[in-house]
Amino acid sequence: MDGNINKTVIRLEHIGMIYKTGTINYEALKDINLTIYKGEFFSIMGASGSGKSTLMNILGCLDQPTSGKYFLEDEDVSTLSKDRLADIRNKKIGFVFQGFNLIQRLSIIENVELPLFYAGVPHKEANIEAKKALRLVDIAENKENNFPNQISGGEQQRVAIARAIVHNASIIMADEPTGNLDSVRSNELMSFFKKINDERNVTIILVTHEPDVAAFAKKHIIVKDGHIVDN
């Protein structure tokens, strides 16, 4: 597709995840092997409870696997400290969640500035970057100082995309981003993901159980009972 198709961004080797609740161990992921290349638009599908979010949390460095190795841009991140993982999330990964996950107390622009705030970018500069990101997802300037509950769900999710790309993340991870949107808004949102993928060559990993949504991606896997069953 494009020139850097061969550059590996993510490589999972024999990843396993066991949740321990009291005396019960639940094996949510079993021997996951996966390679994702730079600029790919990748979808993970599967039934509810199959382990998609568990996989996504590991990919997003929010959680660590109980076994196996995870290489993110050739760095083994499966055993890093929590602070180091926070740093990686800040620099390399942008998240878009099903529930939007904007901080309600903060204005829209402040929400978008947040990753830059933790990166130590001066506020003036952060503000400029946040405005740029918001323009990219078609959020008008006059809505910047609104609070999340003052805009629609579709707009909130676009703000979340702006927050995901504001720090020039190389990977965007979206876990059921259209789960709370109707089909018109879903398509609209997906077209923004496509635009970012096309224009900025950002790797996008999308979790969804809707085939229409998954259709925006160019590569697909299906997870079932903690296994990858289909490529």
């Binding site: 959680d63 996950n101 705030f117």
Partner: protein
């Protein structure tokens, strides 16, 4: 990975602005604690300053002789409770070589009689310089002069309480009263000055020349307090020894028995006043500690609620790159700003209360910068200390679980 702390402080203020009532109620403990400390310290400092002023006004070579037994193990609580000193003792003390013959003050409790009325008061034998030394002028008539003092004239100057009790609204000047069966002509009335720092009515007094007291009041007259001056400052110790020896001899006290009187010099009095001020300060510190503890627990409580309420926010912040210390710092700053805010309000309230006390009560309050600075430092310290546990809890949340929290 550094960003200006100002942004955190600004964000803390925004948080409180969105929850004004709760923030105010949370800091109420700190507000009341700090306000009570400021107000009580200002009362304490006012009281100790007026005690110091009173002591300084007496002069540095002053000696005070009080009745009382030193084996009672303490300073007597009020005047006139024990009767061991007589007017004859006072006369003898005045003749000692190390003691100045003028400038003395003797007080005894006596009945003052005018026609059918009589009133028990403190009769003070003093000299003509009294109004000047004490800065206590007469408002009606005049004070006795040096000549009346020298000739032991039967004249008296009365305080307003005595005037009101005996004469009601009449002008007392010119009337004759009986004290210890001796007739005295009232020649003046002292200006009303009210109660002193110990709650005694200072206007309940009759001043007569000390010479008259010594020469004309016969029989056994119990004395409450004798104040004399040593000839010079360096004679103070000598005078003290002479007085002690004289009184032991006059009271026939055998060598192994303790004194039945006290002789105190100014240094000893100042020390006593100082040590009671110290006890007062320790008590205040204890009250302050308890109220700040209560205030701190209030802050900890609300910060724990806040951390729980904002679990999702913490998860989001962590997802976009906040580290443990970033979260810790955010909540510590919030709790410190909250308690500092309480401290500042408390100082305002405390200053107001202190001024009000000065205005509407006889107590004189003194505000200094120290308790204000200490209050500010303390309230921030309380915020950091009691905010630490909630902040630590927040910073240790697991990002996946925090994000899932609804």
């Amino acid at each position: 990975m550094k960003f200006p702390i100002l942004l955190d402080i600004q964000s803390a203020f925004k948080t409180f602005a969105r929850n004004k009532a709760r923030s105010f109620l949370t800091t109420l403990g700190i507000i009341i604690g700090v306000a009570s400390v400021i107000a009580t310290v200002s009362i304490g400092q006012g009281a100790s300053a007026s005690v110091q002023n009173a002591i300084n006004a007496l002069g540095s070579n002053l000696l005070i002789i009080l009745p009382g037994s030193s084996n009672l193990g303490g300073v007597q609580t009020g005047f006139g409770e024990l009767s061991t000193l007589t007017l004859q003792d006072a006369k003898a003390i005045r003749k000692l070589p190390a003691v100045k013959t003028d400038a003395a003050n003797i007080r005894m409790n006596e009945q003052v009689i005018w026609r059918g009325n009589n009133w028990g008061t403190s009769v003070m034998g003093t000299s003509s310089t009294f109004p000047v030394i004490k800065k206590w002028p007469v408002t009606k008539g005049e004070f006795f002069d040096k000549q009346q003092d020298d000739t032991a004239a039967n004249v008296a100057v009365i305080g307003t309480t005595v005037a009101t009790q005996l004469f009601g609204l009449m002008n007392p000047v010119g009337h004759i009263v009986l004290i210890h069966n001796v007739p005295f002509k009232i020649i003046g009335e002292l200006k009303a000055i009210g109660f002193n720092a110990f709650g005694q009515d200072q206007d309940d007094i009759v001043a007569i020349p000390i010479t008259t007291m010594m020469e004309k009041i016969a029989g056994i007259s119990w004395v409450n307090i004798i104040m004399v001056s040593a000839k010079s400052k360096k004679d103070t110790g000598l005078a003290q020894n002479q007085i002690t020896a004289l009184l032991r001899q006059r009271h026939h006290i055998p060598p192994h028995k303790p004194n039945d009187f006290y002789v105190r010099n100014l240094t000893q009095i100042a020390q006593t006043a100082g040590s009671s001020a110290q006890i007062f300060t320790i008590l205040l510190a204890a009250v302050a500690a308890v109220s700040l503890l209560v205030g701190g627990i209030g802050i900890m409580n609300i910060m724990l609620v806040s951390v729980t309420e904002r679990t999702k926010e913490i998860g989001i912040r962590m997802a976009v790159g906040a580290k443990k210390n970033d979260i810790l710092k955010q909540f510590l700053i919030e709790s410190s700003v909250l308690s500092l805010f309480g401290g500042v309000l408390g100082i305002g309230l405390g200053v107001g209360i202190s001024d009000l006390i000065s205005l509407i009560s006889p107590l004189h309050t003194i505000l200094t910068i120290e308790p204000i600075i200490i209050s500010i430092i303390f309230s921030v310290a309380v915020g950091v200390f009691f905010g630490f546990y909630p902040a630590y809890k927040a910073s240790n949340l697991n990002p996946v679980e925090a994000l899932r929290y609804e």
